[in-house]
Amino acid sequence: MSNVVHAFTSTVPVWSPYVTPVDLASATPEQMAAMQVTPSNKGVSKYVLTLAHDPESLAVRSPLFNLIMYGKDGLSSAERELGAVGASVVNRCIYCAAVHASRFNGLTKRPEVIEAIFKDELEAKIAPREQAIFDFSARLSTTPSQLVQDDADALRKAGLDELEMLDLVLSSAIFGWANRLMHTLGEPLEP
């Protein structure tokens, strides 16, 4: 049996659910549609099979997630990934942090940013613009009601425009969602 991963890593673990995933062979047409199973696409992850227990949510969440993380214009892809990492560090979702840290590294070729974050977590010291993005994401993820004007002003000072700031709110917030699924419904195992 594989070991559970407890420390932050940019090596993507294997996600293993605590509940029984939907059996693809006996999935309903609505579950098949929500999982986007087509004759040409039959590779469905355990995560998607687990979420297929609630096909109505899954069917709308997938396009929402993709637009927030991969939509055009606004905040750069790497900086959206940094927002995702900030939330995942706060919520200690080892799996989400690994996936999005590795994407950030792939986009930026600067692994030292993630190394600093995984070492010092919320105390990490990184370059000014990335610091503002990471700190905002962490603050929004911890206690949203305690967010203050200074938090948004720090983004403005770091040079983010309105659309970039909105994209950061969305990419951090969607991990308030993703972490609550990934981290509570299963665990990360060594690959």
């Binding site: 605590y18 949510s57 939509g71 949203p144 917030a173 308030g176």
Partner: protein, 165 residues
């Protein structure tokens, strides 16, 4: 399209965020209109699903109101209390002992999902199963809490973005 049409088609997040029309933030939100539309569709999918399973529409609205209160978002509390009133499930009804235990376990888990998701372990899911919560309902509950906590964060973020100059 008249301005009345625009107002009436505004999603819940846009209604509650109090964005000044014509502002730079309003423009950014119109660029992300499809995200707002899908956020509204997600709200409907977790609050009033066609297939609610073991989480009735009333229980879902009551849990969402509790999550909003735990995050001090009173406008959102009012929204979910109005949703609860519309379900008609507002009278206290006597519960059997197994059903009382199932609801108590759901409530405890919802609180953890909202306030301390980082502390979640396999034991939390085993506790739900032992209290008679079906596996599909465990996923439904996670989606409900996850969505409401997303919505709370979008609203909190918009509130501070609104004031930046």
């Amino acid at each position: 399209m008249s301005s009345t049409t625009v107002m009436s088609s505004a999603t819940l997040i846009e209604q509650l965020a109090g964005i000044e029309p014509g502002s730079a933030l309003a423009q950014a939100l119109s660029t992300r209109a499809e995200i707002m539309r899908l956020s509204q569709a997600s709200h409907d999918a977790v609050l009033v699903p066609k297939e609610p399973g073991g989480l009735s529409h009333g229980l879902r609205a009551a849990l969402a109101a509790r999550m909003a209160r735990q995050n001090a978002d009173l406008a959102l509390v009012a929204h979910y209390e109005a949703c609860l009133a519309r379900t008609g499930e507002v009278e206290a009804v006597p519960l059997s002992e197994p059903e009382r235990q199932r609801i108590a376990a759901i409530l405890r888990h919802a609180d953890m999902l909202t306030l301390s998701p980082r502390d979640a372990t396999r034991a939390d899911i085993e506790t739900l199963k032992a209290a008679g919560v079906e596996e599909a309902d465990i996923v439904r509950l996670a989606e409900l809490a996850a969505f409401v906590n997303y919505q709370i964060r979008v609203l909190a973020g918009l509130k501070v973005l609104r004031g930046t100059r």
